[in-house]
């Protein structure tokens, strides 16, 4: 886990309101949240030395999509939990091959998020 007890989440999605929805869900757990608009900025977060426990990764984004960002993070040896969240069902295998830990179809519901957080032991 990232250095501190607070769970740190990186939201990677080019939709303003999708990020808003995820943030509101995650605020209920008092997590620390950072948001970026594309895969390239997601990578930069880690290059800059930031640590995260969880990444919520969209697929279709400008500059760098979620699959490429996932593959790049794994290539950098970043062990963060990556959950792909997209409405592109056909991208599941690609995402998992790239190194995602879980794949979810949009829309993300609060119960889906809770289940994921429990599966990663982020909820005490």
């Amino acid at each position: 886990m990232a250095s501190s007890q607070l769970v740190k989440v990186l939201i990677v999605d080019d939709d303003n309101f999708t990020r808003r929805i995820y943030k509101t869900m995650l605020f209920r757990f008092c997590f620390e949240i950072t948001e970026v608009e594309d895969g390239k900025n997601a990578i930069q977060q880690f290059v800059d030395g930031n640590e995260y426990d969880l990444v919520l990764m969209d697929k279709h984004m400008p500059n760098m999509d979620g699959v490429e960002a996932t593959r790049t993070l794994r290539g950098m040896g970043i062990p963060v939990k990556i959950v792909a969240i997209t409405d592109d069902a056909s991208s599941k295998d690609t995402f998992m091959d790239a190194g995602a830990d879980k794949f979810l179809l949009k829309p993300l519901t609060f119960s889906m998020l809770t289940d994921i957080l429990k599966s990663f032991n982020f909820l005490n």
């Binding site: 309101f17 808003r20 997209t86 409405d87």
Partner: protein, 151 residues
């Protein structure tokens, strides 16, 4: 002012949005996220949706105006729009987005144009209805404490 009447109007408008298929159960998810910590959450998210979707639709308009149609690019834009519609529960728009994408796959430009006109109409109607709904909620206060979010 008759707040009970206004609340009933708001409730009726909301029910109509679901009964007529404009919204699906995903919208309930958004309403469930609204609480004292985020009292205007639904209206804020809806406002963001219409702002983002208008931008995407302008991109699609530009792409459709070009002499040489890039169906891949059109499909990517529409996939984004469809994703947004899915997240907010805009059911009819989501269906129309799927129809547009089918036309892209078939490289059927006339079909794309027709679908897109439908999407624009649905977008406009949904926007009007939701704006009316939130206006009623604001007027029906103070219980709902509906206030216009800062933009």
């Amino acid at each position: 002012m008759d707040y009970v009447h206004l609340r009933r109007q708001a409730a009726s408008l909301r029910k109509g949005l679901f009964d007529q298929g404009y919204l699906d159960e995903q919208f309930y998810q958004l309403e469930d996220l609204q609480d004292d910590a985020s009292p205007n959450f639904v209206e804020e998210v809806v406002t963001l949706f219409f702002r983002d979707s208008a931008r995407l639709m302008a991109n699609i308009d530009q792409a459709l105006d070009k002499c040489v149609k890039d169906f891949n690019k059109l499909d990517v834009y529409m996939q984004q729009l469809k994703g947004s519609c899915t997240s907010i529960g805009a059911s009819r728009m989501k269906t129309d987005c799927s129809a547009f994408r089918e036309c892209c796959r078939d490289e059927n430009i006339e079909g794309c144009m027709r679908s897109f006109q439908k999407i624009k109409r649905e977008h406009s109607v949904l926007r009007q209805k939701l704006e009316s709904y939130f206006q009623l909620l604001r007027q029906a206060g103070p219980v709902e404490c509906a206030t216009r979010p800062n933009k």
